[in-house]
């Protein structure tokens, strides 16, 4: 058993095992601790009977809602990583640009009453503007900031991406000020819908459903179109694809555009659920979504979707389920702790993410 574990986590095999059992001891202790917390916490919470079924259902729905936003953002990370092996740190801020663009249109629709009269038309308009803005900015950043670093090895591109992130934040702060603005809150979004006998705010359902649709469309684009095939070819092997006559530049631009579009959608959905937009809003969801992408196996499109939903769920349900039962005060303060512990556990025991097998084999 220990052998299997040792080889799975990439430790030197058997030979050094005798000398380094302490590593295994610690890893086992870690595993055991997590299991004890999870199982003990869950049992404790359920025994306490604090939460009713309806509340568990609510927690799951809340998790899926924010998870769908994470998933949309994570797609941008994962596609860019697949094609360029670049962690596009600024991707969260590109989400912010989409949300901001949507804000101005949404509030003018709100003033003119269009948002209440024909919600579908208004939503389509807002989404379109956000997608155009995010896509444009994503493509521009690639063109101006990332392309010169395309063939630079090492960590310089990552630092450049971090620089782009700050640049976008400060630009938007300069343009629109540091204060918070909020999306309109039309009545049709607030109305509750019955799902399996539980009532759920309509906006949550809309966001989850539309996010899934957007992801399916993306999946079809990647699997069925010529450009999508080229994209997959480049992410398999850039040089070979180039030799086969694929225009790598075009593919990269296309990838950034797709990622930008998803970020634009994510920005608007995020803002429709959580309302507030400000220049720093993209940073935290960006980091979380990056975690989600890794969780699902970076480079894998379905992985990013699953990772996003999974992370959202764990963040929402986890503190109540695991920590409440063992009597930890203020469990929701430790929400990030749970999210990151999950991330690390996945990385330790399944080093290439939930769906990352394919990628992993290739790179090793």
């Amino acid at each position: 058993m220990t052998d299997v574990v040792a080889s799975r986590i990439g430790l030197p095999k058997l030979s050094s095992l005798a000398r380094f059992t302490f590593v295994d001891v610690i890893l086992w202790a870690l595993r055991l601790a997590v299991v004890i917390v999870v199982v003990g916490g869950t049992i404790g919470t359920l025994l306490k009977g604090r939460y009713a079924a309806a509340q568990w259902f609510d927690l799951v729905m809340f998790g899926l809602t924010i998870g769908s936003v994470y998933a949309l953002i994570a797609l941008g990370y994962t596609m860019v990583y697949g094609v360029l092996r670049l962690i596009n740190f600024a991707h969260g801020d590109i989400t912010m640009t989409g949300a901001f663009a949507g804000y101005f249109l949404a509030s003018s629709f709100d003033r003119s009453g269009l948002l209440d009269r024909s919600p579908i038309l208004a939503m389509a308009g807002i989404l379109a503007l956000a997608i155009v803005t995010s896509t444009t900015i994503a493509v521009l950043t690639e063109r101006i900031a990332y392309r010169p670093f395309r063939h630079v090895r090492g960590f310089a591109p990552l630092i450049c991406a971090i620089g782009v992130s700050f640049f976008l934040e400060q630009t938007f702060r300069g343009l629109f000020g540091p204060s918070i603005r909020s999306y309109p809150d039309p009545k049709w979004q607030r109305a509750a819908i019955d799902v399996l006998g539980f009532s759920v705010p309509r906006v949550d359902i809309i966001v989850i459903a539309l996010a899934v649709v957007a992801m399916l469309v993306l999946y079809v684009i990647i699997q069925r179109t010529k450009m999508g095939t080229a994209m997959r070819a480049v992410s398999e092997d850039t040089d070979a694809a180039a030799m086969m006559g694929v225009d790598v530049n075009k593919v990269v631009v296309f990838t950034f555009a797709l990622g930008g579009a998803m970020a634009g959608i994510a920005g608007v959905f995020y803002a429709f659920v959580f309302k507030q937009v400000y220049f720093f809003m993209g940073f935290t969801p960006g980091i979380k979504a990056f975690g989600a992408a890794v969780l699902g196996g970076i480079g894998s499109v379905p992985g990013a979707m699953i990772g996003g939903f999974f992370l959202g769920l764990v963040e929402s349900v986890g503190p109540a389920l695991f920590l409440d039962g063992i009597g930890i005060p203020a469990p929701y303060q430790l929400r990030d702790l749970i999210a990151f512990t999950l991330l690390i556990m996945v990385l330790i025991f399944r080093p290439h993410g939930i769906l990352g097998e394919r990628m992993a084999k290739k790179r090793a």
């Binding site: 590593v23 010169p148 343009l175 890794v294 005060p329 430790l334 991330l343 690390i344 290439h352």
Partner: protein
């Protein structure tokens, strides 16, 4: 800068070579948009408030001038190597300059006609006044377009002029801008002493440089530049200088630089001391991270965790507060000199513990895993759950400053020397490590883990040593950080610190210790 690069690309990489006139239009447009960006982001109005030469030039106006000159210079650059003087160049520069100014003029007109400020908060009346030069709408537009065109022409002429001449003028201008922009700092440094004070009064008023002062600085800087060029020219001519002598000269130069670095805070006062000390702490951390990232190739975004461990250990051991260990355990309250090695030791232990779970994780996954671990440390430190031990959001206060005999090291300058001394020792250790067997093993691991393992390198030991020793440096920095502030809060240990340190060593050049 970025826009400049873009301009070159836009101007240079069209499929069909564009006509010179088209290129001029694009160049003008790019520079105009650069100006437009600075204006609507609010930078222009902000730096307009900073005078360079009192009553003559503000930093904002200097930026506008630079945009104008840059347009012209770019036109000439775009002509390539064989760019030479012609009427066409002049006309194109005028044209491009007018376009660049025209973009800003459009903004002015739009500001006058529409209420843009409802969306773009930076488009204030102050910006309007600045861009119209207090001449009203029509006058402002004319000055913007005309002035920009004239400046572009001047920029083109300057670029076409002799290289040497251009360089000296440029250095003079940069010196004036430097002395103008940093006038506050320079004036503070020039407070003491009668002669220096008198010099200060001639070149500065309280708001910025006087016109006479600006001319003086320009002349001196240009003269120095000329002189330096003359000297260098002389040096180059006697090429038969023996290499040994040249190396000696280089070492002498380096020694002078180090000496200046060491003495500078002493002369410049506590603020510079404070800033240099923060820089010193970053350098200390950078050296530690360099062991991990640069040598062993382990990309670590959670480095701040070790920094936090060092700071909190020091605080818990020395502070005069209810959260100190001395307050509720048998552990006595320690002095800083006793607490520092313990802090370093604890950091090493945490570093090794930190490294164990992520031993098998590679590459970018490792970056995420370490980032997660770093965040976990911060969340725990901040949480209410750990508050009984670590004080949570309130932080640990009243950490005493270190004492040296009877002297309290309280001034930033004193602490700067402490940092410097630690950094020197750390640099020595890092240098020895780099050239040791361990250092070579790290590099082997960095270059290819599998090969390294095949060569008989014990990956586990080598990697854990990298984490542990890297953490030691950060722990040392954290320990100094705690006594520098005398109070620590969890908010000081953000992910951003890790990123900054990483940026530092990447900019400095990976794996190179002096960087």
């Amino acid at each position: 800068m970025m826009a400049g690069a873009a301009a070159r690309r836009v101007a240079g990489s069209r499929r069909a070579p564009p006509s010179p006139l088209q290129r001029a239009a694009v160049t003008g447009l790019v520079f105009g948009i650069l100006g437009l960006y600075l204006a609507i982001v609010g930078i222009l109005a902000m730096i307009h408030g900073r005078a360079i030469i009192v009553g003559v030039l503000t930093l904002g106006q200097a930026t506008l001038v630079a945009i104008g000159l840059g347009t012209g210079a770019m036109i000439v650059r775009g002509d390539g190597e064989h760019g030479a003087w012609s009427w066409s160049t002049l006309l194109r520069s005028l044209f491009a300059g007018a376009i660049a100014g025209g973009v800003l003029a459009l903004l002015v007109v739009a500001m006058d006609a529409l209420d843009l400020r409802a969306i773009f908060i930076a488009l204030s009346p102050a910006l309007f006044e600045m861009l119209t030069f207090d001449l009203g709408l029509a006058g402002g537009v004319l000055v913007l377009i005309g002035g920009s065109a004239a400046l572009a022409a001047l920029g083109a002429l300057l670029t076409l002029g002799p290289r040497a001449f251009r360089r000296h003028v440029l250095i003079g201008c940069i010196a004036v801008i430097f002395f103008g922009v940093f006038q506050e700092l320079i004036q503070i440094m020039m407070q003491y002493g009668d002669i220096i004070g008198a010099v200060r009064e001639t070149i500065y008023t309280w708001e910025g440089l006087t016109p006479e002062g600006a001319i003086l600085i320009f002349v001196i800087a240009t003269a120095i530049s000329l002189l330096a060029a003359r000297l260098r020219g002389g040096e180059r001519s006697d090429a038969e200088t023996p290499p040994a002598q040249r190396r000696n000269a280089r070492i002498a130069k380096a020694a002078v630089a180090v000496l200046l670095l060491v003495l500078f805070p002493l002369l410049a006062g506590s603020y510079i001391g404070q800033v240099m000390m923060l820089v010193g702490l970053y350098i200390l951390m950078g050296m530690g991270l360099n062991l991990e990232v640069g040598l062993a190739g382990l990309l670590d975004l959670g480095f701040v965790a070790f920094f936090a461990v060092g700071a909190y250990t020091t605080a818990l051991l020395t502070a005069d507060s209810p959260h100190a260990l001395a307050a509720f355990t048998a552990i006595p309250s320690l002095s800083y000199w006793e607490a520092m090695p313990i802090a370093v030791l604890v950091s090493v232990i945490v570093g090794v513990l930190f490294g164990i779970p992520v031993l098998g994780v590679r590459g970018d996954y490792l970056a995420v895993a370490t980032m997660g671990l770093g965040e976990i440390v911060r969340v725990i430190v901040q949480s209410d759950a750990a508050a009984p031990l670590l004080a949570g959001a309130q932080g640990i206060l009243q950490i005493p400053k270190p004492w040296l005999g009877n002297i309290e090291l309280s001034d930033p300058v004193d602490l700067f020397y402490l940092t410097l001394a630690c950094a020197a020792v750390a640099a020595y250790c890092a240098w020895r490590l780099e050239n040791s067997r361990l250092g070579r093993a790290w590099m082997a691991v960095r270059d290819d883990e599998d090969v390294a393992q095949a060569l008989g390198i014990n990956l586990v030991k080598v990697k854990l040593l990298a984490y542990g020793l890297g953490a030691a440096f950060a722990g040392l920095a954290g320990s100094i950080f705690a006594v520098m502030l005398t109070s620590i809060y969890p908010s000081s240990f953000q992910l951003l610190v890790s990123i900054n340190v990483l940026a530092l060593i990447i900019v400095g050049g990976m794996a190179a210790c002096p960087a």
